[in-house]
Homo-oligomer: 242 residues x 2
């Protein structure tokens, strides 16, 4: 399957500027594809102009211009996109807007059939997966479905957080929440990307990149630590594959 | 309006046994109403038998028996309930099951028209409000709506957590998430109940009880600290009141 995808756990990582921890991976992907303009999808935050300004900063520094789908006809802009960057914020708001603007199928086609690069961070990573069932975000709006772009056939939990044994807070840990999801019928695999983890996908190959490991949850198996550099291509063959 | 409601932030609080921090408030409410059997709604967790066993422990110690809606016809059991206790777990799973079993209207009627006591913790508190838009839980299933029992006309965020200025984690803080909700059209008021906070409601009077304060978010206003003992009756008059 054609695909060139970078799924970042988060845009902000402790000790790094916005998007900086993944700068090399992002620039390599864009350069390989001779991308000059990145198409930004800003719907996860409410102030699209401010968000565009923030995103332009690193991309301009690296030599790319940025156009945002909110400054024109979004469908047309995506039809002509050289590469797509989907920023973080609220995953429910992002997915609902993609459905409301009828962009889901067009993004899928551009990424999986035409093969343009897709870069997502946080909410932008969540919507790239099978469904947003494993987002950390508040359900501030009600999308028509939790099914997402299905660029990969499994779930991701971005900003994955290990439980703090000294915490006095009694809310569910992240691991408990993910295990609750895996009790449900249609669930299968959840990759917990710690802040600073990136899933790098080229066609049918997937590798964990970045500066932090990940934690892999597969229904019926013990959770497993994944180190940076690990081959995760087997995840792309999971049932329900796109 | 007739209602006798206790909404607990959580069943587990640091330093206390399960439900113990609110034992006096719970027993007072049940005794005033001459309740001998509490009807438990266990759907927020997947193992209903184990959950019933856990809930029976404190209630039996306090002198009440517990029946669970999963051990019979749930609609009939609720129709005959003397008092309802809705436990925590996953809010999406809980609300979806209430819809699937067609229990929403019956619970509303029992609580708001007949006036039986309703006690909720965590997910059981979320579903008592206007909607579950401010739950912390993962959307592990897709309920037919986020609208909830509407026993109160505003939103609650249980397990409310102050941000840790020393944290290296870059995910959104709880306050940021709630403020994102308040950017959305139908939102108005969110009461953040810290673990150990209880909202006590009798007819049109509401008071903050428990051992921890709350944080109140009203659209367009600065967030506000609420101390234990504060009168919050004005929240019951908010627009969209049940």
């Amino acid at each position: 399957m054609l695909r060139q995808i970078l799924l970042l756990s988060s845009s902000k990582v402790h000790g790094y500027d916005f998007l900086e921890y993944a700068a090399n991976d992002i620039c390599e992907l864009l350069n390989e594809n001779k991308v000059s303009t990145v198409t930004f999808i800003p719907y996860a935050l409410s102030d699209h102009d401010a968000y565009l300004k923030k995103v332009e900063e690193p991309f301009k520094k690296w030599g790319y211009s940025v156009e945002s789908t909110h400054n024109g006809n979004p469908l047309q802009i995506i039809e002509n996109a050289q590469a797509i960057f989907v920023g973080g914020g609220n995953t429910f708001r992002l997915l609902k807007t993609l459905y409301d603007l009828n962009l889901v199928e067009t993004i899928r086609k551009r990424v999986l059939s035409v093969g343009i690069p897709y870069i997502g961070t946080s909410a932008g990573t969540n919507v790239a997966t099978k469904s947003i069932n494993t987002t950390n975000d508040m359900p501030i709006v009600y999308p028509p479905s939790l099914e997402a772009l299905k660029l990969v056939p499994f779930n991701i939990n971005p900003h994955y957080l290990d439980s703090d044994p000294n915490s006095k807070h009694k809310g569910e840990t992240r691991e408990e929440r993910i295990l609750q999801y895996l009790e449900e019928e249609d669930s299968h695999t959840v990759l917990g990307l710690r802040e600073g983890s990136t899933l790098w996908i080229k066609n049918n190959t997937a590798v964990l990149k970045g500066i932090q490991g990940a934690r892999l949850f597969i229904r019926g198996k013990d959770p497993q630590e994944i180190n940076v550099g690990s081959d995760l291509s087997f995840l792309l063959k999971e049932e329900g594959s796109a």
